[in-house]
Symmetry: C2
DNA sequence: CAGCGTACTACACATGCGTGTAGTCAGCTG
DNA sequence: CAGCTGACTACACGCATGTGTAGTACGCTG
Protein backbone atom coordinates (compact mmCIF):
# COMPACT_ATOMS: atom_id res chain seq x y z
CA UNK A 1 0.00 0.00 0.00
CA UNK A 2 1.24 3.43 -0.97
CA UNK A 3 2.09 5.65 1.96
CA UNK A 4 0.27 8.43 0.17
CA UNK A 5 -2.84 6.29 0.39
CA UNK A 6 -4.10 7.12 -3.08
CA UNK A 7 -5.57 10.40 -1.97
CA UNK A 8 -5.44 13.48 -4.13
CA UNK A 9 -2.78 15.98 -3.19
CA UNK A 10 -5.46 18.33 -1.97
CA UNK A 11 -6.90 15.74 0.38
CA UNK A 12 -3.46 14.76 1.59
CA UNK A 13 -2.71 18.38 2.41
CA UNK A 14 -5.97 18.72 4.29
CA UNK A 15 -5.31 15.58 6.30
CA UNK A 16 -1.76 16.65 7.05
CA UNK A 17 -3.05 20.03 8.16
CA UNK A 18 -5.57 18.35 10.46
CA UNK A 19 -2.74 16.40 12.04
CA UNK A 20 -0.35 19.32 12.33
CA UNK A 21 -2.94 21.78 13.62
CA UNK A 22 -4.07 19.15 16.10
CA UNK A 23 -0.61 18.25 17.31
CA UNK A 24 1.01 21.64 17.43
CA UNK A 25 -1.82 24.12 17.26
CA UNK A 26 -2.55 26.56 14.49
CA UNK A 27 0.28 28.94 15.25
CA UNK A 28 3.08 26.47 15.75
CA UNK A 29 2.05 24.42 12.75
CA UNK A 30 3.87 25.54 9.62
CA UNK A 31 2.79 25.38 6.02
CA UNK A 32 6.15 23.90 5.16
CA UNK A 33 5.73 21.16 7.73
CA UNK A 34 2.26 20.36 6.48
CA UNK A 35 3.51 20.30 2.91
CA UNK A 36 6.32 17.94 3.88
CA UNK A 37 3.89 15.55 5.58
CA UNK A 38 1.64 15.65 2.53
CA UNK A 39 4.72 15.14 0.34
CA UNK A 40 4.07 18.21 -1.76
CA UNK A 41 5.71 21.60 -2.11
CA UNK A 42 4.69 24.40 0.19
CA UNK A 43 3.60 26.35 -2.85
CA UNK A 44 0.97 23.79 -3.66
CA UNK A 45 -0.63 24.32 -0.29
CA UNK A 46 -1.06 27.94 -1.17
CA UNK A 47 -2.20 27.03 -4.67
CA UNK A 48 -5.02 24.90 -3.35
CA UNK A 49 -6.06 26.77 -0.25
CA UNK A 50 -4.83 30.31 -0.68
CA UNK A 51 -3.76 31.01 2.88
CA UNK A 52 -3.09 29.33 6.17
CA UNK A 53 -6.38 30.51 7.62
CA UNK A 54 -8.30 29.31 4.60
CA UNK A 55 -6.62 25.96 5.07
CA UNK A 56 -7.91 25.80 8.61
CA UNK A 57 -11.37 26.75 7.38
CA UNK A 58 -11.20 23.87 4.95
CA UNK A 59 -10.26 21.59 7.83
CA UNK A 60 -13.21 22.84 9.84
CA UNK A 61 -15.52 22.26 6.92
CA UNK A 62 -14.21 18.76 6.38
CA UNK A 63 -14.69 18.05 10.05
CA UNK A 64 -18.24 19.36 9.92
CA UNK A 65 -18.99 16.94 7.07
CA UNK A 66 -17.60 14.03 9.02
CA UNK A 67 -19.57 14.98 12.09
CA UNK A 68 -22.71 15.16 10.01
CA UNK A 69 -22.08 11.63 8.85
CA UNK A 70 -21.52 10.38 12.39
CA UNK A 71 -24.60 12.27 13.42
CA UNK A 72 -26.74 10.55 10.81
CA UNK A 73 -25.31 7.18 11.68
CA UNK A 74 -26.00 7.62 15.40
CA UNK A 75 -29.49 8.92 14.68
CA UNK A 76 -30.29 5.99 12.41
CA UNK A 77 -29.22 3.54 15.08
CA UNK A 78 -31.26 4.05 18.25
CA UNK A 79 -28.17 3.06 20.30
CA UNK A 80 -30.15 2.97 23.47
CA UNK A 81 -27.85 2.48 26.42
CA UNK A 82 -24.99 4.63 25.28
CA UNK A 83 -24.36 7.17 28.02
CA UNK A 84 -21.29 8.81 26.72
CA UNK A 85 -21.86 8.25 23.04
CA UNK A 86 -20.63 11.77 22.63
CA UNK A 87 -17.13 11.06 23.82
CA UNK A 88 -17.24 7.72 22.08
CA UNK A 89 -18.15 9.21 18.73
CA UNK A 90 -15.51 11.85 19.05
CA UNK A 91 -12.88 9.44 20.23
CA UNK A 92 -13.73 7.29 17.24
CA UNK A 93 -12.63 10.10 15.03
CA UNK A 94 -9.23 9.24 16.39
CA UNK A 95 -6.56 11.32 14.72
CA UNK A 96 -8.87 14.29 14.65
CA UNK A 97 -9.28 14.28 18.40
CA UNK A 98 -6.64 16.90 19.11
CA UNK A 99 -7.87 19.10 16.32
CA UNK A 100 -11.42 18.93 17.59
CA UNK A 101 -10.33 19.73 21.08
CA UNK A 102 -8.54 22.86 20.01
CA UNK A 103 -11.32 23.91 17.69
CA UNK A 104 -13.92 23.57 20.43
CA UNK A 105 -11.91 25.43 23.01
CA UNK A 106 -11.18 28.22 20.59
CA UNK A 107 -14.91 28.60 20.08
CA UNK A 108 -14.86 27.28 16.53
CA UNK A 109 -16.54 24.10 15.29
CA UNK A 110 -20.00 25.40 16.13
CA UNK A 111 -21.78 22.86 13.91
CA UNK A 112 -20.02 20.05 15.73
CA UNK A 113 -21.05 21.24 19.15
CA UNK A 114 -24.57 22.08 18.07
CA UNK A 115 -25.08 18.71 16.42
CA UNK A 116 -24.08 16.97 19.60
CA UNK A 117 -26.44 19.18 21.56
CA UNK A 118 -29.25 18.12 19.24
CA UNK A 119 -28.43 14.51 19.85
CA UNK A 120 -28.30 15.10 23.55
CA UNK A 121 -31.64 16.90 23.48
CA UNK A 122 -33.23 13.94 21.69
CA UNK A 123 -31.94 11.60 24.31
CA UNK A 124 -33.11 13.95 27.03
CA UNK A 125 -36.57 14.11 25.55
CA UNK A 126 -36.85 10.38 26.17
CA UNK A 127 -35.53 10.71 29.70
CA UNK A 128 -37.95 13.55 30.44
CA UNK A 129 -40.89 11.26 29.86
CA UNK A 130 -40.00 9.29 32.98
CA UNK A 131 -39.66 12.44 34.97
CA UNK A 132 -42.23 13.46 37.56
CA UNK A 133 -41.55 17.17 38.08
CA UNK A 134 -41.56 19.76 35.37
CA UNK A 135 -38.10 21.14 34.54
CA UNK A 136 -37.69 24.82 35.25
CA UNK A 137 -35.27 25.32 32.39
CA UNK A 138 -35.47 24.51 28.72
CA UNK A 139 -34.41 21.15 27.47
CA UNK A 140 -32.13 23.00 25.07
CA UNK A 141 -30.38 24.64 27.99
CA UNK A 142 -29.98 21.39 29.84
CA UNK A 143 -28.75 19.62 26.73
CA UNK A 144 -26.20 22.38 26.09
CA UNK A 145 -24.65 22.26 29.54
CA UNK A 146 -24.87 18.50 29.58
CA UNK A 147 -23.01 18.33 26.28
CA UNK A 148 -20.29 20.61 27.52
CA UNK A 149 -19.89 18.36 30.52
CA UNK A 150 -19.74 15.27 28.37
CA UNK A 151 -16.96 16.86 26.37
CA UNK A 152 -15.06 17.91 29.47
CA UNK A 153 -13.22 14.65 29.84
CA UNK A 154 -11.85 14.94 26.33
CA UNK A 155 -11.01 18.61 26.75
CA UNK A 156 -9.10 18.01 29.96
CA UNK A 157 -7.91 14.51 29.24
CA UNK A 158 -4.39 15.13 30.54
CA UNK A 159 -5.69 16.14 33.95
CA UNK A 160 -8.38 13.50 34.04
CA UNK A 161 -5.88 10.83 33.11
CA UNK A 162 -3.57 12.00 35.85
CA UNK A 163 -6.42 11.97 38.37
CA UNK A 164 -7.60 8.52 37.35
CA UNK A 165 -4.14 7.08 37.11
CA UNK A 166 -4.86 5.75 33.63
CA UNK A 167 -4.83 7.31 30.20
CA UNK A 168 -8.51 7.89 29.51
CA UNK A 169 -7.93 7.04 25.86
CA UNK A 170 -6.51 3.63 26.66
CA UNK A 171 -8.87 0.65 26.92
CA UNK A 172 -8.40 0.49 30.68
CA UNK A 173 -9.04 4.21 30.95
CA UNK A 174 -12.21 4.01 28.90
CA UNK A 175 -13.43 1.20 31.07
CA UNK A 176 -12.77 3.02 34.31
CA UNK A 177 -14.23 6.21 32.89
CA UNK A 178 -17.41 4.40 31.92
CA UNK A 179 -17.82 3.13 35.47
CA UNK A 180 -17.21 6.56 36.93
CA UNK A 181 -19.74 8.10 34.56
CA UNK A 182 -22.29 5.43 35.39
CA UNK A 183 -21.85 6.17 39.06
CA UNK A 184 -22.05 9.94 38.66
CA UNK A 185 -25.03 9.77 36.34
CA UNK A 186 -26.99 7.47 38.59
CA UNK A 187 -26.36 9.37 41.83
CA UNK A 188 -27.60 12.94 41.92
CA UNK A 189 -25.33 15.31 43.79
CA UNK A 190 -28.39 17.08 45.20
CA UNK A 191 -31.71 15.89 46.50
CA UNK A 192 -34.79 17.58 45.04
CA UNK A 193 -35.40 19.49 48.30
CA UNK A 194 -31.81 20.67 48.51
CA UNK A 195 -32.05 21.83 44.94
CA UNK A 196 -35.31 23.62 45.62
CA UNK A 197 -33.84 25.29 48.68
CA UNK A 198 -30.83 26.48 46.75
CA UNK A 199 -32.96 27.63 43.86
CA UNK A 200 -35.00 29.66 46.30
CA UNK A 201 -31.84 31.32 47.53
CA UNK A 202 -30.81 32.36 44.04
CA UNK A 203 -30.69 36.10 43.51
CA UNK A 204 -32.99 37.83 41.07
CA UNK A 205 -36.57 37.16 40.09
CA UNK A 206 -37.65 33.60 39.51
CA UNK A 207 -36.98 32.90 35.86
CA UNK A 208 -39.65 31.57 33.55
CA UNK A 209 -39.00 28.92 30.97
CA UNK A 210 -37.40 30.45 27.99
CA UNK B 1 -4.23 56.73 40.92
CA UNK B 2 -1.28 55.81 38.79
CA UNK B 3 -2.12 53.64 35.82
CA UNK B 4 0.92 51.57 36.73
CA UNK B 5 -0.81 50.79 40.00
CA UNK B 6 2.30 51.08 42.13
CA UNK B 7 3.43 47.60 41.24
CA UNK B 8 7.05 46.77 40.67
CA UNK B 9 8.07 46.48 37.07
CA UNK B 10 8.48 42.78 37.49
CA UNK B 11 4.93 42.39 38.76
CA UNK B 12 3.57 44.63 36.01
CA UNK B 13 5.30 42.48 33.41
CA UNK B 14 3.87 39.32 34.93
CA UNK B 15 0.36 40.75 34.99
CA UNK B 16 0.68 42.01 31.44
CA UNK B 17 1.90 38.59 30.37
CA UNK B 18 -1.09 36.95 32.06
CA UNK B 19 -3.38 39.23 30.09
CA UNK B 20 -1.60 38.82 26.77
CA UNK B 21 -1.17 35.05 27.06
CA UNK B 22 -4.81 34.80 28.04
CA UNK B 23 -6.12 37.00 25.27
CA UNK B 24 -3.94 35.91 22.39
CA UNK B 25 -2.41 32.64 23.51
CA UNK B 26 1.23 31.95 24.15
CA UNK B 27 2.33 31.93 20.53
CA UNK B 28 0.55 35.01 19.31
CA UNK B 29 1.47 37.01 22.37
CA UNK B 30 4.71 38.91 21.86
CA UNK B 31 7.30 39.98 24.36
CA UNK B 32 7.24 43.42 22.81
CA UNK B 33 3.50 43.69 23.29
CA UNK B 34 3.72 42.54 26.87
CA UNK B 35 6.50 45.03 27.51
CA UNK B 36 4.42 47.82 26.01
CA UNK B 37 1.46 46.99 28.23
CA UNK B 38 3.73 46.90 31.26
CA UNK B 39 5.27 50.17 30.10
CA UNK B 40 8.80 48.82 30.10
CA UNK B 41 11.32 47.94 27.45
CA UNK B 42 11.28 44.50 25.92
CA UNK B 43 14.80 44.01 27.19
CA UNK B 44 13.62 44.29 30.77
CA UNK B 45 11.30 41.39 30.27
CA UNK B 46 14.25 39.29 29.30
CA UNK B 47 16.28 40.74 32.15
CA UNK B 48 13.73 39.64 34.71
CA UNK B 49 12.48 36.40 33.27
CA UNK B 50 15.15 35.22 30.87
CA UNK B 51 12.91 33.81 28.18
CA UNK B 52 9.35 33.75 26.98
CA UNK B 53 8.80 30.26 28.30
CA UNK B 54 10.25 31.17 31.67
CA UNK B 55 7.86 34.09 31.73
CA UNK B 56 4.97 31.73 31.23
CA UNK B 57 6.32 29.49 33.98
CA UNK B 58 6.34 32.51 36.27
CA UNK B 59 2.73 33.17 35.33
CA UNK B 60 1.83 29.59 36.11
CA UNK B 61 3.58 29.82 39.45
CA UNK B 62 1.82 33.06 40.30
CA UNK B 63 -1.47 31.48 39.39
CA UNK B 64 -0.73 28.47 41.56
CA UNK B 65 -0.13 30.79 44.51
CA UNK B 66 -3.42 32.55 43.94
CA UNK B 67 -5.28 29.28 43.66
CA UNK B 68 -3.72 28.13 46.90
CA UNK B 69 -5.05 31.22 48.58
CA UNK B 70 -8.52 30.70 47.19
CA UNK B 71 -8.27 27.11 48.21
CA UNK B 72 -7.46 27.99 51.79
CA UNK B 73 -10.21 30.56 51.91
CA UNK B 74 -12.83 28.12 50.60
CA UNK B 75 -11.62 25.43 52.97
CA UNK B 76 -11.76 27.77 55.95
CA UNK B 77 -15.32 28.74 55.12
CA UNK B 78 -17.56 25.66 55.03
CA UNK B 79 -19.54 27.36 52.23
CA UNK B 80 -22.31 24.85 52.45
CA UNK B 81 -24.70 25.06 49.56
CA UNK B 82 -22.24 26.10 46.87
CA UNK B 83 -22.72 23.68 43.98
CA UNK B 84 -20.52 25.23 41.45
CA UNK B 85 -18.07 26.92 43.76
CA UNK B 86 -15.47 25.72 41.34
CA UNK B 87 -16.64 27.82 38.46
CA UNK B 88 -17.44 30.62 40.83
CA UNK B 89 -13.98 30.72 42.32
CA UNK B 90 -12.37 30.61 38.93
CA UNK B 91 -14.68 33.19 37.47
CA UNK B 92 -13.84 35.37 40.42
CA UNK B 93 -10.27 35.41 39.28
CA UNK B 94 -11.68 37.44 36.44
CA UNK B 95 -8.91 38.62 34.20
CA UNK B 96 -7.07 35.35 34.62
CA UNK B 97 -9.98 33.36 33.29
CA UNK B 98 -8.71 33.11 29.73
CA UNK B 99 -5.23 32.29 30.89
CA UNK B 100 -6.52 29.52 33.13
CA UNK B 101 -8.63 28.13 30.36
CA UNK B 102 -5.69 27.82 28.02
CA UNK B 103 -3.39 26.49 30.70
CA UNK B 104 -5.86 23.77 31.64
CA UNK B 105 -6.54 22.71 28.10
CA UNK B 106 -2.86 22.58 27.31
CA UNK B 107 -2.45 20.20 30.22
CA UNK B 108 -0.57 22.70 32.37
CA UNK B 109 -1.75 24.16 35.68
CA UNK B 110 -1.74 20.76 37.35
CA UNK B 111 -1.74 22.23 40.88
CA UNK B 112 -4.84 24.22 40.03
CA UNK B 113 -6.76 21.24 38.78
CA UNK B 114 -5.58 18.98 41.56
CA UNK B 115 -6.49 21.49 44.24
CA UNK B 116 -9.99 21.72 42.88
CA UNK B 117 -10.22 17.94 42.80
CA UNK B 118 -9.24 17.88 46.46
CA UNK B 119 -11.98 20.33 47.27
CA UNK B 120 -14.44 18.32 45.26
CA UNK B 121 -13.41 15.13 47.02
CA UNK B 122 -14.00 16.76 50.39
CA UNK B 123 -17.44 17.79 49.36
CA UNK B 124 -18.09 14.35 47.95
CA UNK B 125 -17.04 12.72 51.22
CA UNK B 126 -19.91 14.56 52.89
CA UNK B 127 -22.33 13.54 50.18
CA UNK B 128 -21.22 9.91 50.38
CA UNK B 129 -22.40 9.71 53.96
CA UNK B 130 -26.00 10.04 52.82
CA UNK B 131 -25.48 7.40 50.21
CA UNK B 132 -26.95 3.93 50.59
CA UNK B 133 -24.95 1.87 48.11
CA UNK B 134 -21.21 1.52 48.12
CA UNK B 135 -19.54 3.24 45.17
CA UNK B 136 -17.72 0.91 42.82
CA UNK B 137 -15.07 3.48 41.99
CA UNK B 138 -12.77 5.58 44.12
CA UNK B 139 -13.88 8.90 45.43
CA UNK B 140 -10.76 10.34 43.86
CA UNK B 141 -11.87 9.08 40.45
CA UNK B 142 -15.35 10.48 40.87
CA UNK B 143 -14.01 13.79 42.09
CA UNK B 144 -11.65 14.04 39.14
CA UNK B 145 -14.29 13.49 36.50
CA UNK B 146 -16.72 15.64 38.39
CA UNK B 147 -14.20 18.47 38.49
CA UNK B 148 -13.54 18.21 34.80
CA UNK B 149 -17.27 18.46 34.22
CA UNK B 150 -17.58 21.47 36.48
CA UNK B 151 -14.87 23.19 34.49
CA UNK B 152 -16.49 22.31 31.18
CA UNK B 153 -18.75 25.32 31.10
CA UNK B 154 -15.79 27.65 31.46
CA UNK B 155 -13.71 25.73 28.94
CA UNK B 156 -16.47 25.81 26.32
CA UNK B 157 -18.08 29.06 27.34
CA UNK B 158 -18.51 30.31 23.79
CA UNK B 159 -20.55 27.29 22.82
CA UNK B 160 -22.45 27.15 26.07
CA UNK B 161 -23.30 30.81 25.80
CA UNK B 162 -24.55 30.27 22.29
CA UNK B 163 -26.65 27.32 23.38
CA UNK B 164 -28.12 29.16 26.33
CA UNK B 165 -28.66 32.37 24.44
CA UNK B 166 -26.88 34.36 27.16
CA UNK B 167 -23.25 35.01 27.91
CA UNK B 168 -22.55 32.62 30.77
CA UNK B 169 -20.25 35.20 32.32
CA UNK B 170 -22.97 37.84 32.48
CA UNK B 171 -25.20 38.05 35.55
CA UNK B 172 -28.15 36.68 33.60
CA UNK B 173 -26.03 33.88 32.26
CA UNK B 174 -24.75 32.93 35.68
CA UNK B 175 -28.27 32.87 36.98
CA UNK B 176 -29.57 30.66 34.19
CA UNK B 177 -26.53 28.43 34.46
CA UNK B 178 -27.10 27.97 38.18
CA UNK B 179 -30.65 26.85 37.52
CA UNK B 180 -29.55 24.45 34.83
CA UNK B 181 -26.90 22.98 37.08
CA UNK B 182 -29.37 22.62 39.93
CA UNK B 183 -31.69 20.73 37.62
CA UNK B 184 -29.00 18.49 36.21
CA UNK B 185 -27.48 17.76 39.60
CA UNK B 186 -30.78 16.88 41.19
CA UNK B 187 -32.03 14.61 38.40
CA UNK B 188 -29.88 11.57 37.65
CA UNK B 189 -29.69 10.69 33.99
CA UNK B 190 -29.82 7.00 34.90
CA UNK B 191 -31.74 5.01 37.45
CA UNK B 192 -29.71 2.69 39.68
CA UNK B 193 -31.03 -0.37 37.83
CA UNK B 194 -30.26 1.09 34.44
CA UNK B 195 -26.77 1.87 35.64
CA UNK B 196 -26.33 -1.62 37.02
CA UNK B 197 -27.54 -3.12 33.78
CA UNK B 198 -25.14 -1.04 31.76
CA UNK B 199 -22.31 -1.78 34.11
CA UNK B 200 -22.97 -5.44 33.68
CA UNK B 201 -22.70 -5.03 29.93
CA UNK B 202 -19.29 -3.39 30.16
CA UNK B 203 -16.49 -5.38 28.59
CA UNK B 204 -13.63 -6.73 30.66
CA UNK B 205 -13.48 -8.15 34.13
CA UNK B 206 -15.32 -6.37 36.89
CA UNK B 207 -12.93 -3.80 38.28
CA UNK B 208 -12.16 -3.59 41.97
CA UNK B 209 -11.89 -0.34 43.87
CA UNK B 210 -8.51 1.15 43.27
C1' DC C 1 -0.28 20.58 -33.78
C1' DA C 2 -1.56 24.94 -31.25
C1' DG C 3 -3.57 26.82 -27.36
C1' DC C 4 -4.67 26.76 -22.77
C1' DG C 5 -5.78 25.81 -18.12
C1' DT C 6 -4.40 23.31 -14.03
C1' DA C 7 -1.40 20.88 -10.82
C1' DC C 8 2.85 21.56 -9.14
C1' DT C 9 7.81 23.26 -8.00
C1' DA C 10 11.73 26.29 -6.91
C1' DC C 11 13.10 30.42 -5.18
C1' DA C 12 13.17 35.06 -3.57
C1' DC C 13 11.01 38.70 -0.46
C1' DA C 14 9.49 41.00 3.53
C1' DT C 15 8.61 40.89 8.15
C1' DG C 16 7.87 39.91 12.88
C1' DC C 17 9.90 37.85 16.52
C1' DG C 18 13.04 35.91 20.29
C1' DT C 19 17.32 36.71 21.64
C1' DG C 20 21.96 38.75 22.35
C1' DT C 21 25.00 42.86 23.33
C1' DA C 22 26.50 47.12 24.87
C1' DG C 23 25.67 50.81 27.54
C1' DT C 24 23.33 54.23 31.00
C1' DC C 25 21.79 55.43 35.49
C1' DA C 26 20.77 55.04 40.42
C1' DG C 27 21.92 53.30 44.77
C1' DC C 28 24.75 51.07 47.98
C1' DT C 29 29.30 49.96 50.33
C1' DG C 30 34.05 50.61 51.61
C1' DC D 1 35.32 59.28 45.83
C1' DA D 2 35.98 54.54 43.72
C1' DG D 3 33.88 50.40 42.72
C1' DC D 4 30.31 47.45 42.11
C1' DT D 5 25.70 45.61 41.37
C1' DG D 6 21.22 45.50 39.50
C1' DA D 7 17.31 47.75 37.10
C1' DC D 8 16.59 49.32 32.73
C1' DT D 9 17.03 50.90 27.63
C1' DA D 10 18.38 51.04 22.72
C1' DC D 11 19.67 48.51 19.03
C1' DA D 12 21.15 44.96 16.02
C1' DC D 13 21.27 39.94 14.61
C1' DG D 14 19.49 35.81 12.85
C1' DC D 15 15.99 33.03 11.74
C1' DA D 16 11.60 31.03 10.73
C1' DT D 17 7.58 31.77 8.28
C1' DG D 18 3.68 33.42 5.33
C1' DT D 19 3.40 35.01 1.00
C1' DG D 20 4.43 36.30 -3.79
C1' DT D 21 6.44 35.27 -8.50
C1' DA D 22 8.18 32.86 -12.30
C1' DG D 23 8.44 28.79 -14.51
C1' DT D 24 7.64 23.64 -15.82
C1' DA D 25 5.02 19.45 -16.98
C1' DC D 26 0.83 17.38 -18.26
C1' DG D 27 -3.66 16.68 -20.10
C1' DC D 28 -7.53 18.36 -22.55
C1' DT D 29 -9.94 20.61 -26.53
C1' DG D 30 -10.40 22.55 -31.10
Amino acid sequence: MDSREDLTARARIRDAALRHFGEHGFDRATIRGIAATAEVSSGLVRHHFGSKEALRDACDAHLARMVSEINDRVRADPAPGEVNYVSVSLAAVGPYRDYIRRALVEGRAEPLFDKVVELSADWMAEADKKRSDRPVVTRQARATVSTAMALAVTMLHEHVSRGLGVDVFSPDGEDLLARVLLDLHSHPMLSPDEAAAMRARLPGKPRKRR
